[in-house]
Symmetry: D2
Subunit: 353 residues, 4 copies
């Protein structure tokens, strides 16, 4: 079968591979919609997760089941499914003890696609533990909407969850690419009052407002911490979601959050040895500013909840999609877009049906 | 001054009293908008809080400050303010130790208006600790909207907070009077996916849908627990908010929530010695179905957060207001409406300006 | 093989059954130590979980593995293991969404032994999902100590967890049978200051003091709520753990806990249609007195933590054992003791090695 | 009156000042026991909080009330009291909204003694809001024990609280000076199983074992992260409390905690612009390793809970005291000890009675 792969660091292209085989609990899925992600760019061109050879890329997919393991109970060939980017093994000791399943077999082990096995940019891909990691896609949700569930929605919303947004509180979302936009939606979904969104690209700014942002902070107008403090009488905000930026962004988050405030990071920091916590802004260690950061929740239950959010009209993630391509081949053009980031792109999708 | 008072159990009427006097930390406020509440009916006609003599009624008010204590820093005569129904003393040992301020000097002691001092249905009323218990009403919010903040919004939202509603989860709100409707809005505000609303009056049902309800459960169609279980493949819902009904409603909530689910009660139970937890539905004590219940948060910070919710368009509580009366005298007609509950009433307001 | 079984409601006796067979993930275990439990008495003589025919009793066991499924990775025949009373299936949707695994396939489904399959009072017994539900018993822990882990320790400690005991807070434990005694130890383990223990039997009272109780409340001296209120200047306690008693005990817990306080129930309520919440004591629904109740955590991780507690000398559960019997036959005598409850019994153990 | 003061950065000495005066809610206290703290050394010799001129030092005191404001209800001259190091204003908006009172008027504003007003190393000192910030010292507790409550106990325990230690979990405490030793005790008090203590001084190591440490990690034996990982099969620990060390210690904490684990920092970081979070150890921002850090809780309620811990024999903080001096003059010698840190010092106390 054909797949679009990382050939080596710095190089991507089409390769041929054997069609994967389903174990007794697994499924083989053919894609219906695929979404390239900035992470794929990090993986290939920055070598963010190290060298990989001929590894098929991609972790955001909606698909149709073509083969199913004999121990799978709830799915059958032909089913249209949402495939989370994160597909953990669920029967592990860390999960028993409350560790997020994203780390069920060790740190970040729930992230399998295009990390420790082939990703979804292929004619077929393999899903471990189908009963636990797939969700039926109901009618009435478009493929474009659905394609935002595996990563964009669950990641953005997780930022709001980790930041523990409270009803009527002030929130700042730093970074309003597609994940940051879903973090804005997530902040509204958790009941935020005022929502600051830090960004500058006009289409992202416009969409941030649609998703609930009330104030736009543009770094071109000066230091973003100073702008947030100015707008809040020097107090800062109750919650910060970090959804983009270099390591220094974490320091800005600490500096703009109130004592007792909470930071939720969903940014994948790809460079640097350390991330800085500002000593004075963190009260010399004593300011009760909590810092959380985590990979997005995957699995069936989470995807079913994303489906419920879309189905009941709470958030429309389809607005993120600015570019559409046709066929599997579309992922190549989509990825090129994510690499070049022209001003009008937010999120591309390749539609195979 | 003139006030509308509980004369004794079963009897209400206009009385004359001395205008109240502000202590050093207090304010005297003249009402701009007043909202009668079902609680006032419980107080007078059911004697729910015991005998009271010539106690001025009412606890939902927007007003203008007419006199201010000399230790008050942040307010001055002329300021338009939201007055929470619950005005606690904040400097107490229970508050230090994390007890909700509603009980800062003992159980329910934060509830002062028309409980242990004169209420707000008068030409003037007294507010303890103005800096901590008043919030400035900004322009751009109508008096009708604002009048829903002191009790309706904060109470309904608190139901969603106590029920610990999670993103994409299924919620059932039992009771869709004005508080229940705000609980529906609160469930949506905390990110609920599917929201069941239990009620039957057409205007309440219609408004529940506007505030986010996706499924209406009508007791006239049979047992409400059975209906909710039927609609959820026998699983029940993740969260229940009890916003009305007799003691048996608590049992229904336990029966319809999943194991591991959470119940938040905002219903004021006025009758009965005990409230029933169904032994089997509660897993003989072992089902991990948590039961919370609490008086709404008051105080300045909470009101400022309610203001932020309205100001930023998250929820429009003004839709609750079905009947408008003019002048202080309007509270009498408003209360009569709450007593008789004609089919078209949700919430009346008396406007004094 | 031989097993001690519930023949029908009201009757128990020895039966012969086929030795169980291990599926690919399972283990067959021969007991080294067995502890009869009051629950077994409820099951047989009160029919608490309904009719059962020839169901082998018992759910508290330490054993040696005699056969192991071929998919099991971490255990082998000959291993000495702690077997939790609760052995859930871990790979389920509720677990994904944070529901305690005790209910992983529905309410209380994690409780399998002597409930929906044969229990441990036999020459051999079957354990589902060995890698997830067994824990290696290290040297240096006696069989008597270990036999308290599967139920007594994990249940008692769970009471303190659900009651959310805080450092230096006042706690009341109602009921000081073996589970209640472990709740006292659990309260101390979570940092309680003053611990009231409600009970009257002299040996239980003495042991409660050893485990950390500072005040003994004896119902023979009058109403226990009044006694606790008297001892706390009318304030009540911050946390209550309900570890025994009839349904009315839950009402007493509500009445003696402060507003904002938390109740954790670990009592198995075997009779009655409903459990009473006192309306006034619960602030008419508004006192912020939270009520939790749940089956004890099982599984390997939990047992490993119980082992860590004993190994590092935090709690010595061996003190609970007042009566020792020899051989499998000992469970009959042990159960008779639990049924008759002579004054000197706290917990019997049958030792098979 | 006489007091031992910071004259300027780098210089300390005795000065004469006016005896302070009590406002209506305040108290004037004469010390009975005083404990010098490493923080005082930071303040004077490192200029950690900036320049101060003739500011009386000290924030750990037990005393006797000599004068009381007329609005104070619960205390009178002659009362022996525990004075917390942190004495916040409690009636503020941040406290209303759940911000720890340590920051009730802005970051770290609860810390008043020897920071923004004269400290306790004087013949008399001033306590704001006596009813909220003093606790009666009962009989049966020694002055040495009591003197550990204002800072050492509440700080160390807060580390265990912020690290959210669970029953039976593995904990590492980095730094076993007096605060770290109380963190070890706090970890045990929250139910830890295995407790690693990182330190090297023999008397501290011995005391760490008494307070519950099970494993000692000595940096002289190599990298402490590697040692902890070795001892835990490469898994790391569930919780880390940072109680000492340079900025790099925070990075070590992140590296040794499991994914999903929690860090509680009680270390006052006095130098450096930033504190480092290791990018890879933090899972590139996605490991769900939470970082908390905060000033110790003060106030009356907290001190009463510390008293309850000592009174009921849960922890004996008196073991920390290695050196005793007599009279107010003793603080000078005590401070010299804290500055020079000879091998045998853990905590000195000056006893004035």
């Amino acid at each position: 079968m054909k797949g679009f792969a990382m050939l080596k660091i710095g190089e991507a292209g089409w390769i041929e591979k054997e069609k994967p085989v389903a174990g007794p609990y697994d499924a083989i899925v053919a894609p219906l919609a695929l979404a390239p992600c900035t992470s794929d760019i990090h993986t290939v061109y920055e070598g963010a997760i190290g060298e990989r050879s001929n590894l098929i890329l991609g972790h955001e997919a909606i698909g149709r089941i073509v083969e199913i393991g004999k121990k799978v109970k709830d799915f059958k060939p032909g089913d249209r499914v949402v495939v989370p980017a994160i597909t953990p093994e669920w029967r592990t000791l860390p999960v028993q003890l409350g560790v997020p399943a994203q780390h069920s077999e060790g740190m970040l082990t729930g992230w399998k696609f295009s990390n420790d096995k082939d990703g979804v940019f292929a004619e077929y891909f393999h899903v471990n533990d189908a009963d636990m990691n797939l969700a039926l896609l109901p009618d009435g949700i478009t493929l474009e909407q659905a394609a935002m569930m595996p990563d964009m929605m669950t990641t953005g919303f997780h930022g709001a969850e980790m930041a523990q947004v409270q009803i009527g509180a002030d929130v700042c979302v730093i970074g309003i690419g597609p994940v940051g936009l879903m973090a804005v939606a997530g902040a509204e979904l958790r009941g935020a009052g005022r929502i600051f969104a830090v960004g500058s690209r006009p289409n992202c700014v416009a969409l941030a407002r649609e998703y609930g942002a009330t104030d736009i902070i543009n770094y071109k107008n000066g230091d973003i911490v100073a702008q947030v403090l100015d707008a809040t009488k020097g107090l800062g905000v109750d919650h910060v979601i970090v959804a983009g930026g270099p390591p220094q962004t974490l320091a800005q988050a600490v500096d703009m959050v109130k004592p007792g405030g909470v930071i939720g990071n969903i940014n994948y920091f790809g460079v640097g040895d350390t991330l800085p916590i500002p000593r004075l802004g963190w009260g010399c260690g004593m300011a009760h500013k909590s810092v959380h950061g985590g990979l997005c929740p995957g699995g069936r239950g989470r995807m079913e909840r994303m489906i419920s959010i879309v189905r009941h009209g709470r958030v429309d993630p389809g607005k993120l999609v600015t570019h559409r391509f046709t066929g599997l081949e579309g992922v190549e053009a989509g990825l090129a877009l994510m690499k070049d980031k022209p001003a009008d792109v937010i999120k591309p999708v390749a539609l195979l049906e």
